[in-house]
Symmetry: C2
Subunit: 347 residues, 2 copies
DNA sequence: CTGAAAGCGCTTACAG
DNA sequence: CTGAAAGCGCTTACAG
């Protein structure tokens, strides 16, 4: 009923606890005979080391924590999957917490994880978060912290990101290259770095191409639960307020799909009347009609890389080496589909 | 740098470790003065109990494990969210593992969790799983185990389910009530109980209404990554093989949306030519055109209830009470939308 | 009201 | 090759 302990094995075998411990871990200074004996009994008794005791001795939990704003989200669930798959390979278990984009919750959750003595933390910060003390505290405790996707530039830790500005630039450039002259942008909330960067990339592409930047063409979305609705609403507003718009770069696919739905309902032709580029390459983007041109944001890969970096730092800390924060930038791709025109070959 | 311990507080204050421990936990037999003194110092030193030591003593980790077939999945990510939200309230942290529908992985993961000494386990079993020893082992160790959604009927543990058979019956009945005479079914894989039950509900509705059951109208989908594609492929096959079909009950929304996409492409009118009912009420179901009539499967609620049940059993075990397995059935609803006809009032 | 004692189950450095 | 000793940091029953 109660789990087997080293003591039980030692007593039934008439040897000492340390010897049992060492035999099980194949220490070279234990006789083959003893090892065989111990291992056999351990197996029959289904011995499993008590992880609490092991943790207490080794000061490691072989567990990491991850905090994300939202679990029910295509991008983040892919990131989680990437993290878990990689962590499992290295013998780490993963505790998941969801901040709901709330700074207070995020702070509390960081504390929960620290209390649990996780070995390291992976985080994509909440939109609300503007104060980073809870995060620098983690680093000050010499506990590895890696940020991904939604990062805070000021915090000195490793980060797994994409070049949002560049990707947005490419997306907007594609609209320009395919003939759009008046391009709107449905952006994300004001605070998070990636929605700022996507906006800046959009703006720069316009200016570099000699198109004027018009702030009234920029619509804000919260990109939460209601993304699809926001897409529809903004599409309707845009149609009313700016009849001359012929292209939109949209912060996230879900919003873009909402917009497409609304446009189709109103018989606006895509891409002929309005071309659309989304962001993230959610699988529905290739499924809808017309399929959506978008920027592929590699969630699974981001998760994998985030864990790999954390793992490196975990090992560094163990060897009492200093952690040198690394910024890892993953590539994105423009996926051309039906929601934008094909580039006309110019002579 | 290193975390504060009880010893440090005791030594700087010149009192014993047990007194510090008791002061911090507000034991009645410690003087107010001592308590105040201890608490203040604990606060300034940012004392946090070492969870490893606490676990070792109390034999509790305040951590539970959850195993699901797939994280990147609307239903499951909602369940996870429900579990986590509830667990956090009760001071439990959640470790998540993904079985990829693989029996071997699932077995390994159960062991991982047992090795970690989680207090309890929540699981939705893999399609492949037909042997349940790894699960009964958990129960035999007196460790609470609660199944949800994809369950094994033989295993004696609590289960959070919906009445798949009834829901499927209602879905099919709705097709019949709205005038469908020849109804196909796109079912899930052969093994999992819920896909069996949905199939049986479909079949029973046909028979109860005097319609003949025709096995050739039942198509199998794996319902994995390729659900959308499977929907398209099966829709195309159906059109070729059974031109007379006027209604389909589909195992899961994603497949249904694939089917709708294919039908629209081929100018099949929905619901006039073919009516469709899905299953799960994925949010895209209300977004697509035509919007999808479907069965609402309350993922978040299932997660919440699953944790609540586990929590009850956790407490029971602590009090050395016997766990009485409970089957909790949550209600589903038929959500009528555009992919089925409105019921004609008969006189 | 306070503290000495025992112990949770393991690991590691050291003695023999 | 084996084992006695110390200790990780806490908690709880008990003595005073």
């Amino acid at each position: 009923m109660t789990p087997t302990t080293l003591r039980q094995i030692a007593e039934t075998l008439g040897i000492s606890i340390p010897t049992v411990s060492k035999a099980l871990k194949d220490y070279p200074d234990v006789s083959k005979k003893t090892k065989a004996m111990v291992k056999e009994l351990a197996k029959t008794l289904n011995y499993k080391p008590n992880s609490f005791a092991v943790n207490l001795r080794t000061k490691e939990s072989k567990t990491i924590g991850i905090i994300i704003p939202e679990i029910v989200h295509h991008f983040f669930s892919n990131v989680i999957k990437g993290i878990i798959s990689q962590a499992e390979k290295k013998g780490y278990l993963v505790i998941i917490l969801q901040s709901n984009e709330s700074y207070e919750l995020e702070k509390k959750q960081i504390n929960l994880l620290i209390d649990k003595r996780v070995d390291g933390i992976l985080i994509s910060i909440a939109n609300e978060t503007a104060d980073f003390k809870h995060l620098t505290d983690v680093i000050d405790q010499n506990k590895p912290l890696v940020m991904f996707d939604k990062i805070a530039k000021i915090v000195k830790c490793s980060k797994i990101i994409i070049d949002d500005r560049k990707a947005a630039y490419i997306a907007t450039q594609h609209l320009i290259d395919t003939g759009c002259k008046r391009i709107a942008h449905f952006r994300g909330p004001l605070l998070p770095q990636n929605s700022i960067d996507r906006f800046l990339g959009y703006k720069k592409a316009l200016i570099d191409n000699g198109l004027s930047y018009d702030p009234s063409l920029v619509y804000i979305c919260q990109c939460g639960d209601k993304s699809f609705e926001e897409g529809k609403i903004n599409a309707a507003r845009l149609l009313k307020e700016h009849k001359d718009v012929d292209g939109i770069f949209i912060n996230t696919d879900m919003v873009a799909i909402g917009a497409i739905t609304e446009f189709r309902k109103r018989k606006v032709k895509i891409p002929e009347d309005i071309s659309i580029v989304g962001f993230s390459n959610w699988f529905m983007s290739s499924a809808i009609t017309p399929s959506l041109t978008t920027i592929d944001q590699p969630g699974f890969k981001i998760g994998k890389r985030a864990f790999k970096q954390l793992y490196k730092e975990l090992k560094a800390v163990k060897k009492e080496k200093i952690i040198i924060p690394k910024i890892i930038e993953l590539k994105t791709n423009l996926i051309k589909r039906e929601s934008t025109k094909t580039i006309s070959l110019k002579t």
